[in-house]
């Protein structure tokens, strides 16, 4: 672990905190918390200062002791309202990756019904048209949406060689959803303990083949299901979706915190359902609030990837499994998502130069 360098990328309050930490040590004559590598990192988001402790160099009693004693010391720093001292984020997946899948990006929101599934499907369609091999894993086991969004239905075939399930293919995208396995009116009721076991199995027993990108459509909230999804395969990043209203922002913020705790980087925030244009007078009504996404993005320090209005045509297409008719150059939904795709392609291309040729400016793509 490299030593923290206060001169690299920390703001004033953080440097102030580092200064305090570098004058404290656990033993009277011992090295300070920074040089003893006991503090892994610190970060100020909004008015909350987080101190991440290094679990390799501190036992539990020491961690507890530090949690208690550091908070009051750092609280007095100007701009700091609350202090959270916690063990450093641990990637729960332990680096597990799905064979053949180059990148995994999750789409999440702490709040329900903000458009995760619809946006995931639209993004996949856009990327697929760029020649990127995309799959979607529907991790919303209690409310799977892929069957309707793509008009796709089971049965799912099993590959006789490795006993894995073969994804369905619709509109050029490989899909797997528990909705393909369950009858429509069957509720899936899994206890927490079963979630761990059953989900891991469901997530790992899919034969995706070669994929450039797997999008994972997560359920809302912060539950066992999210952990299970993450445990079975490492997420390279998460895109967070929110509606503009405060009710949504509260929950979304919690979701973002969860992924921060799990060491999954946030690629950015999408504000969805930002206003509806009246079919009669074209007046835009902000039925689900206004501007909340931008302020949350700024506060947390993540990019706002796009602000997307509610398009009744999209809702109708989503219901009839024809979102591909909306993902056409010049259509509202397509234009609104362009910045997200650019960002994502930039992200992917950064890691996979061979994709760069294919992921040219999406608006020029032949769709």
């Amino acid at each position: 672990m490299p030593l923290i360098d206060p001169n690299s990328g920390y703001n004033t309050a953080e440097r102030h905190a580092l200064d305090i930490l570098s004058r404290m040590s656990l033993q009277p004559e011992g090295a300070d918390l920074i040089h003893a590598r006991q503090v892994h990192d610190i970060a100020l988001t909004g008015e909350v200062m987080r101190v991440f402790l290094n679990t390799d160099t501190l036992d539990e009693a020491q961690q507890e002791m530090l949690a208690e004693s550091l908070a009051p010391l750092l609280k007095d720093i100007p701009g700091v309202e609350r202090v959270i001292v916690k063990p450093r984020p641990q990637a729960v997946s332990g680096g597990r990756r799905i064979a053949g899948v180059k990148r995994v990006v999750a789409v999440h929101s702490g709040k329900g019904g903000v458009g995760k599934s619809t946006l995931t499907a639209q993004l996949a369609l856009m990327l697929a048209h760029l020649g990127i091999k995309v799959g979607i894993l529907d991790a919303d086991i209690y409310g799977p949406s892929l069957p309707i969004l793509f008009g796709a239905h089971g049965p799912v075939q099993q590959n006789p060689d490795n006993q894995k399930m073969t994804p369905l293919v619709a509109q050029g995208i490989r899909l797997m959803s528990l909705g393909f396995l369950l009858p429509d009116d069957q509720a899936l009721v899994w206890r927490g303990s079963l979630v761990d076991e059953g989900l891991s199995q469901f997530f790992t027993d899919v034969d995706w083949g070669e994929l450039d990108l797997l999008l994972v459509d997560l359920p809302p909230g912060t539950s066992d299901v999210h952990l299970a999804a993450l445990r079975t395969n490492e997420f390279d990043g998460v895109i967070t979706v929110t509606a503009p209203g405060q009710v949504s922002l509260d929950d979304v913020r919690r979701g973002m915190e969860m992924f921060a705790d799990l060491a999954v980087p946030c690629i950015g925030l999408i504000e969805n359902m930002a206003g509806v244009a009246c079919a009669g007078c074209r007046q835009v009504n902000h039925l689900f609030g206004e501007l909340g996404g931008g302020s949350l993005a700024q506060e947390i320090g993540v990019p706002l990837l796009a602000t997307i209005p509610f398009y009744p045509a999209v809702a109708a297409a989503a219901d009839s499994g024809t979102l591909n008719t909306q993902i056409q150059p010049g259509r509202d939904a397509f234009q609104a998502l362009l910045p997200v795709v650019e960002r994502l392609c930039g992200n992917i291309a950064g890691v996979f130069p061979e994709l760069r040729q294919r992921s040219h400016h999406p608006s020029e793509a032949q769709l």
Partner: protein, 313 residues
């Protein structure tokens, strides 16, 4: 869950629970002191308006003279505290026992009032059970006639735990008009039916909206599926609630529509829904009383069944 197996060759490997098994007949949950009837507000899909419905129904019921409590069981995304404007922490009595906060005449308990907004909590199974037990049984609930419980979406751990551990009178299922939401509502209805919990009705929220500028009525979501579900599953269709352009701002600022716009269209819809709910609960109470009498009789018969052979000897 035999149907399940037939749809997937793989399903033998996936441990699906048969939910009927998970509630044993002789394991009837104990009543909770002070609490009359517990009614769940559920949905399959997220964001369809469960919390909005819970808050406004609660105030409506309260306006009808009932004593009402609201328990926010959406541990993953609690909204009740914000929608009631109950931001301050929990009060405790002199013995240190937590008490619900009174807002707009309703007693409100939410996890959100006990945890800071940025505390990300991943609720693992045992913690869910423990927290719910605390909220239902270890809080000083005042006497309430009805306790509305706002659930998270889906059919997961929280729903199961509540259905198993607490005496539930019945459930309302909220959906929005589109198939994406109604399909999930169908799964929720299935869960309740399998566990023998009465579904008092289906509420179709966000059923169109009136443009405040030109008065144009616009259907945001394709519709028709909710009524179909109600008739398929013999559940009462309690009607629609239109999108109210003021709903978001009022929810964000902690003002129930029923109070802030008491004379409005939306408020009167909620008042009607509250009437429908009270009559459903009364009907359920009558049915239970009837059943209790019936089972007394059946006790009599098993009683005689037991004695008869002995007497013969």
């Amino acid at each position: 869950m035999s149907e399940c197996k037939s749809t997937s060759r793989n399903s033998q490997q996936i441990p699906l629970t048969n939910i009927a098994d998970s509630q044993t007949q002789d394991n009837i949950p104990q009543p909770i002191e002070g609490i009359g009837e517990i009614v769940l507000v559920a949905s399959g899909k997220g964001g369809v308006g469960k919390s909005t419905v819970t808050v406004n129904l609660a105030v409506s019921l309260r306006n009808q003279g009932l004593r009402v409590g609201v328990l926010d069981a959406d541990l993953y995304g609690p909204s009740i505290a914000r929608m009631f404007g109950a931001s301050e922490g929990l009060k405790t009595d002199d013995r240190g026992i937590a008490q619900p906060t009174e807002c707009h005449g309703v007693f409100v308990l939410s996890v959100a009032s006990v945890m800071p907004p940025e505390a990300a909590l991943v609720w693992k199974g045992p913690l869910v059970t423990q927290t719910l037990t605390q909220m239902f049984r270890e809080v000083q609930w005042p006497e309430v006639d009805v306790l509305l419980v706002d659930l998270p979406p889906g059919t997961g751990d929280i729903q199961l735990t509540i259905l198993e551990q607490f005496p539930i009178c019945g459930a309302l299922v909220v959906t929005t008009p589109q198939r994406l939401a109604v399909t999930d509502a169908r799964r929720a209805v299935s869960m309740f039916h399998e566990l023998d919990i009465p579904v008092f009705g289906l509420i179709e929220n966000m059923d169109g909206y009136l443009c405040p500028c030109c008065g144009e009525h616009q259907q945001l979501f394709p519709s028709g599926a909710a009524k179909q579900l109600a008739s398929d599953r013999s559940v009462a269709y309690l009607g629609g609630i239109a999108i109210d352009p003021d709903a978001q701002a009022l929810a964000d600022s902690g003002q129930p529509m029923v109070t802030a716009q008491a004379g409005g269209v939306t408020a009167s819809r909620f008042n009607e829904l509250a009437d429908q709910l009270t009559s459903a609960v009364l009907k359920e109470q009558k049915y239970r009383a009837f059943q209790a009498r019936e089972s007394d009789h059946s006790n009599d018969t098993s009683h005689t069944d037991f004695w008869e052979p002995l007497l013969d000897e």
